[in-house]
């Protein structure tokens, strides 16, 4: 019988009942400061070395494109050999990198300081370095503004389509389908060839003329053809987010419409849209350089990276670096923007986390 008696024993460790010290309390309270979705994403992005290197490359190129023309002693359109009241000085033309023209050499022998032509000059005696920098500026600006145009039109059309639904949605989506299945590059070339002639007299005398009819027509083309991807994306986001369980859960818990939009819809939508815009920039830069290469890009004498590469084809055997330099810059920009965009997507698209 005795074996069957179960004994109940309680061992109490009195140490467990000693009040915690302040130090211990602090240890328990904040394991880690709470982070927002944005901070989380930034932290993830910072860990991605490839994306960070690409980001710095983009920042450096952008800063150079903005600030270098401000203090550089040469202008992109100045033909150095052509000075008012003097005969043309052909020794300025086709200088190799770091070479000086005869008049500059004379000035240097007289003790003056002459700013070097880092990349030499082109066939018309224009400083090639500043042309590359300015071309980069044009290409970046075109890429950036074209993406903004695509973003705005895409968001407007996509949200109308998503919210309205019904017949409006069907009609808009059919139009999107058709534009989507058009061979875009051929249509772009066709439009660019015609628009620039149509636009030139229209914008004559307005501030837009300074930008040039070709760039304006490029923007028009982006506004006409490239919004479809973005509007599909926005519509899809709106349709799928509306039906999400967490939206329903928030509403059940008594959340107001504004709270749902601010805390749930926008953070979930914005990252996808921003990423897609970021990836749109290199494709716009690509399109611009392609058109410039075909002679349908920026108006002369304004340079863009594509037109510089195209011009370089004429003196290719003697001056191959004139092609190689803009080629490297374009590839670097497109590559780093693509890699950075990929990094953004990995960091901010929660669905891809696992």
């Amino acid at each position: 019988m005795n074996e069957n008696i179960k004994r109940l024993s309680l061992q109490v460790n009195l140490d467990d009942f000693i009040p915690a010290t302040d130090e211990e309390k602090e240890y328990m309270v904040t394991m880690r400061p709470s982070t927002t979705f944005f901070q989380d994403g930034v932290a993830r992005l910072k860990k991605n070395k490839v994306a960070m290197v690409s980001f710095f490359v983009i920042v450096i190129i952008t800063l150079m494109a903005i600030f270098v023309p401000m203090f550089w002693p040469y202008q992109y359109e100045t033909m150095l050999g052509m000075q008012p009241g003097k005969p043309m000085d052909a020794s300025f033309n086709n200088l190799h990198p770091m070479e000086y023209s005869s008049s500059e050499q004379a000035a240097m022998e007289a003790g003056e300081k002459v700013f070097p032509h880092i990349f030499g000059t082109d066939s018309q005696g224009r400083d090639y370095f500043i042309r590359v920098v300015y071309g980069t500026r044009i290409s970046l600006a075109v890429g950036f503004f074209a993406s903004i145009i695509v973003l705005v039109i895409g968001i407007v059309v996509g949200s109308i389509s998503g919210y309205a639904g019904g017949v409006v949605d069907i009609i808009i989506m059919r139009i999107v389908d058709i534009i989507y299945s058009l061979p875009d590059m051929l249509m772009v070339i066709l439009l660019a060839a015609v628009l620039r002639q149509r636009l030139a007299p229209v914008i004559e005398g307005t501030p837009l003329a300074a930008i040039g009819s070709n760039i304006i027509s490029l923007f028009v083309i982006f506004a006409l053809l490239y919004w479809v991807g973005m509007s599909r994306l926005v519509r899809g986001q709106i349709l799928s987010l509306r039906e999400q369980e967490y939206v329903l859960a928030a509403q059940t818990a008594g959340a107001k419409g504004s709270w749902v939009i601010k805390k749930h819809l926008i953070p979930n939508c914005v990252s996808v849209i921003v990423i897609s815009t970021a990836l749109q920039i290199p494709s716009a830069i690509f399109t611009e350089s392609y058109l410039s290469f075909l002679g349908l890009g920026v108006n002369a004498p304004m340079p863009s990276l594509g037109s510089l590469a195209s011009d370089a084809l004429n003196g290719l055997s003697s001056y191959p670096y004139r092609l190689v330099i803009p080629a490297i810059v374009i590839s670097l920009i497109v590559l780093s923007l693509n890699l950075f965009g990929d990094g953004l997507r990995d960091a901010f698209d929660p669905k891809l986390n696992n």
Partner: protein, 308 residues
Amino acid sequence: MDPKTLRYILKRLVLGVFTVWVVITLTFFIMHAVPGGPFLSEKAVSPAAQAAMEAKYGLDKPLLVQYGTYLSDVVQFRFGPSLKQRGRMVIDIITDGMRVSAKLGIMAALLALALGVVLGSVAALRRNTILDRIIMIITTAFVSMPSFIMGSLLLVAFAIKIPLFPANGATAGGLVLPVITLMLYPMSYITRLTRSSMLDVLGQDYIRTAKAKGVTRWKIIFGHALKNALIPVITYFGPMLAYIVTGSLVVEQIFAVPGIGRAFVQSIINRDYMLIMGTTIVLASLIVIMNLVSDIMYKIVDPRINLE
């Protein structure tokens, strides 16, 4: 074939025909938006000569009548005479160009496909090794390089600095560099596509089952994995053709290949509007048809896929 697939194919066919019609219509109206109309040269012409020209090309008729005539002409492949190359018909210029361009494009596509699938499979099978890394770095670089840059750099390197190949695409061996230029981007794309879908397939249960049953490594790779891994590559056929067509516009220009792309670019520079319209319609229809074919093939090869 189940009725659902048939309905999908029918739907895509209708959309394809409709898209070609939209292309023709857009091309027609865009061209007629050219200041002064597509048939006038920049030179000043006497009013009588201009009226004669307009009567000859039917420009004195209302726009819609012109559009109807053009539509029925295009359906019969009648694109009219070239405005700048005297005595030549647009359709002849297009067929002549197509002979060269088709050769160039098909060679580039086949090479891209063969090399891309091999490189992609190798990268997937040797995952996370040095070889995989090198393949991925190189393909990433190629994907970011526009075709005109690639073509120009190859021209500098292998036709001028080291004269291995002729710079002129019309001569013997002249197509080597253009084919390489056109091939590199689709090859890189197919490599990346094959690698990721191969990795996906290799993780599937049926591969493990095959391994457990003692199937040899090569039989698994070729009989089980590659067959399924290549399905996504089919969807790339359409976009690849679109890339090769637009790429060949500049590549033929750089290497002076007498193909349809060069004819197109020249027609834009010369403002030969009849030729521009004809080439655009032919090339665009080609791209639309290839997209259609690759979508339908995708659906037939893998009936599980729901494309709606």
